[in-house]
């Protein structure tokens, strides 16, 4: 039996022909490629919103979707200035009493007019005891909501508030139709829910009766979830989506160099270290301050954020903040000698061992932790990395199962008050140093919020800056650049500065697809 005698099974030619036919079939649909409707914006989200309950905060992706469905009394224009949204105007009768006039043309998605009764109902829902509303504590200075007529209402406060109008513009403070049943919340945003599938997509269609006549410009938005950041970017490059949030830092250079893509970036969130101050060396503020002097922050920016960020040496006063808080006397620098001196002063001349908590879920947290670990070793602090998944990380933070830990977040408006929830002992959470409580910081935060005179507020926050350096509730590390990337066809999408970065999606109202 020769090999030749058996060659009339599949021959090389038939096999190759099979391959060829397969390839042709695969490539064929490429020619039939159809663009989805030209004016439906396709938006690549980083995660599917865990919930779009109007007043709960479940993250940036949810906030973007919520902002398209719902609106509040105030909002931001494309220049990121606070402007009336459902409110037509407002008038402060005194420091603690404000009267809102509503726009008569504002309508909910079911056609009902937006009335002061709906505003009262929504605010009361937020303030309801036991509600999971994000802004419940921040808005707790509201002690009266009085309906004057259908379009006029008075809100009275127990103390003045410098930031209430900013809070009203937050994604988590929308006005919902008071007749909404159960979980079916009816809002009045620029888009209406068309269809959705959990974990996959959310499709919205234009609300033709939106209060801002002539907007939104596109006929709909299709949010598509790409959990993997590299796939999200690939989808943008392949033209599957028109815009993505959270452009991965590794791709900034590619987008810069591309003639098809552009980005809207701002120096928004910041990275910092938290401490468990209930035990061990970190209970001593001198040790915490020493950590602040031990770290070369530019290395974090370079290693974790591909150079897209800026070192942060003191209290995180956001870009766009009206206050100048710079005070070289009370800020850190990279000064290992001073760090060692502080450690010696605190009784740890030879350093110590500790656990550094971060998460493997987010590369930027993990990379930041690695750089911190290396620099701490240089002053004798041997940190063991603990890198669980995000869920475990959050619980470990809440329960204080760490010595020091990496975190990064943003406020929601460009005012020092915006990080009160990260510092005030009334809101203990995994976002704060475990067991940390400072009466001075609490009191300054309360004063700053209740003060409406800008000069007095400046003085208050300058003092807060000093106390922050002395008591070290956190060690600031760096600002990071946060970016949306988009096709060049997109016009009118604006990048809001500082902590307002997440609110940039307000500008989707004006966005067009060329």
């Amino acid at each position: 039996m020769t090999r030749h005698s058996l060659t009339t099974g599949p021959t090389r030619r038939t096999v190759l022909m099979g391959f060829g036919a397969g390839l042709t079939v695969m490539a064929m649909p490429g020619a039939l490629r159809a663009q989805s409707g030209p004016t439906v914006l396709r938006f690549g989200l980083s995660t599917f919103p865990p919930s779009i309950k109007p007043w709960d905060n479940t993250g940036a992706a949810a906030n973007t979707v919520k902002l398209m469905l719902n609106r509040g009394l105030t909002g931001y224009n494309n220049a990121s200035e606070l402007v009336p949204e459902l409110a037509e105007s407002w008038d402060w009768e005194s420091d603690t009493s404000i009267v809102f006039k509503l726009k008569p043309g504002a309508r909910f998605h079911n056609g009902e007019q937006v009335t002061s009764g709906d505003v009262k109902w929504s605010l009361e829902k937020i303030l309801e005891p036991g509600s999971s509303s994000f802004l419940r504590r921040d808005l707790s200075m509201i002690n009266g909501i009085e309906v004057i007529d259908d379009l006029t209402l008075r809100v009275t406060l127990s103390s003045p508030s410098a930031v209430m109008l900013d809070l009203f513009a937050n994604f988590n403070c929308p006005i919902i139709w008071s007749g909404s049943q159960g979980e079916d919340y009816i809002g009045c945003g620029p888009f209406k829910m068309k269809s959705q599938e959990r974990g996959v997509y959310i499709e919205l269609e234009r609300n033709d009766d939106f209060v801002e006549a002539g907007t939104p410009k596109v006929e709909g938005i299709r949010f598509i979830v790409y959990a993997d950041e590299n796939l999200r970017y690939a989808a943008l490059e392949a033209g599957d989506v028109d815009i993505i949030e959270y452009l991965p830092w590794s791709q900034f250079d590619t987008v810069d160099a591309s003639d098809k893509l552009k980005m809207a970036a701002s120096l928004g969130p910041y990275m910092f270290l938290l401490f468990n101050v209930t035990q061990g060396p970190f209970a001593d503020p001198r040790v915490r301050r020493a950590v602040g002097f031990a770290i070369e922050r530019q290395d974090i920016v370079d290693a974790a954020f591909a150079g897209r960020g800026e070192p942060l040496f003191s209290f995180p006063n956001p870009q766009g903040s009206p206050f100048d808080l710079s005070d070289p006397e009370h800020e850190w620098s990279y000064d290992p000698d001073r760090a060692k001196a502080l450690l010696a002063e605190a009784g740890y001349p030879n350093g110590f061992d500790c656990r550094l908590l971060a998460t493997a879920t987010y590369g930027m947290h993990q990379d930041t932790a690695s750089v911190v670990q290396a620099y701490l070793a240089m002053i004798g602090i041997n940190a063991t990395l603990d890198l669980p998944d995000w869920a475990t990380r959050v619980t470990a933070g809440t329960e204080g199962r760490y010595d020091l830990c990496v975190h990064g977040t943003s406020g929601y408006y460009n005012d020092p008050d915006s990080i009160a929830s990260l510092l005030h002992s009334a809101n203990p959470s995994y976002l704060q140093s475990f067991g940390f409580k400072s009466d001075r910081i609490d009191s300054l935060l309360d004063q700053g919020r209740a003060e409406t005179d800008p000069d007095k507020r400046t003085a208050i926050y300058q003092e807060l800056n000093t106390v922050y350096f002395e008591e070290v509730p956190q060690v600031p590390l760096n600002w990071r650049v946060q970016a949306y990337a988009m096709s060049n066809r997109i016009q009118g999408f604006a990048s809001f500065p500082g902590f307002l970065n997440g609110a940039s999606t307000y500008s989707l109202d004006e966005t067009t697809l060329g």
Partner: protein, 317 residues
């Protein structure tokens, strides 16, 4: 036969109970509080009071034994309950996503069979020939490259460079058939590529073994057309073990397409399971694992019954 069937069914039910109990216990042990997590997503945080309120809504304030009893009794009624995260029906979610994972697996398997059986047969018939050397080397290479690497390369090549196929995603067939198929191509190829390496190896080895048998020589000697010899006397015998392996692999794929689904954003069952684990959505995790386990056990049961019909001796054991 009835007694045999009864014993097998009891054993299958027992296995499901064990699987269910293990999943339940694991999820109790794993750290991470779904309530705190829900309120913590994206840099926010809940107050203790808010977390307590959410825990109550989720039923997590009940004692563990109570949760276990509830879980068992509701599973018996096929009532998987609702997701902790968004309150959607878990049964509906599974009903939606299981077919997509199956679609991916079936499409991948069809591709793998279509490529690997002819290629494996040809290579087996011409062992040591040029095609065999090249194909076997390529096969060794592809076997050792994990699916997510292949996936990433495919996306880079076909979506980002050539821009002929989408980078990932999904649209229902009913909504846009062409786009649906275009989105299916890359993930199915990725699933199929790995499967095809296994099938190629099995087919080649099996054909190589069969072609040396006496009956093949006899068939050739009595003047049968070569095509018939290959098809009837070699392939038919050679494919037995191949089919067994393919069957096994399909079962395994049901739980292991997760990386492919992740890389291509294909909204199948494994992706649903992973995100449920990440969010500590206990009822969803349990329901998906129970479903997959039940399918496995059902397949095994079916095979056992089939074997017992073919070979009555098994029933006596």
């Amino acid at each position: 036969m009835a007694a045999f069937l009864f014993r097998r069914l009891v054993a299958a039910a027992g296995m499901l109970l064990v699987v269910g109990t293990i999943i339940f216990s694991l999820l109790v042990i794993v750290p991470g509080d779904p309530a705190a997590l829900l309120l913590a997503t994206g840099g926010g945080s809940g107050t203790e009071e808010q977390i307590a309120a959410v825990r109550e809504r989720m039923g997590l304030d009940q004692p563990v034994w109570q949760q276990y009893v509830d879980f068992l009794t509701s599973s018996l009624r096929f009532d998987f309950g609702t997701s902790l995260i968004d309150g959607s029906s878990i049964a509906e979610n599974i009903g939606l996503r299981l077919p997509r994972t199956l679609e991916l697996i079936v499409a991948g398997a069809l591709f793998a069979l279509a490529v690997a059986i002819p290629a494996g047969t040809y290579a087996g018939l011409h062992a040591g020939g040029r095609f065999d050397v090249v194909a076997s080397a390529a096969n060794a290479l592809l076997t050792s490259v994990p699916g997510f690497v292949v996936g990433t390369l495919f996306i880079y090549l076909f979506a980002q460079i050539l821009r002929v196929l989408p980078a990932g995603g999904y649209v229902p067939f009913a909504q846009d058939p062409v786009q649906h198929l275009r989105m299916l191509v890359l993930p199915a190829l990725t699933v199929g590529l790995h499967l095809s390496t296994i099938i190629f190896r099995m087919t080649r080895a099996s054909v190589l073994e069969m072609r040396g048998h006496d009956w093949v020589r006899t068939a050739t000697a009595k003047g049968l057309r070569r095509r018939l010899v290959v098809r009837r006397h070699i392939l038919r015998n050679a494919l037995g073990p191949v089919i067994t392996v393919v069957g096994l692999q399909l079962g395994i794929l049901l739980g292991s397409t997760v990386l492919v689904e992740f890389v291509y954003n294909w909204p199948g069952l494994s992706g649903f399971l992973v995100s449920a684990v990440e969010q500590r959505d206990y009822p969803s995790v349990r329901a998906v694992i129970l479903t997959v386990a039940a399918i496995f056990i059902a397949i095994n049961l079916a095979i056992e019954i089939l074997y017992s019909l073919l070979d009555p001796r098994i029933r006596q054991q």
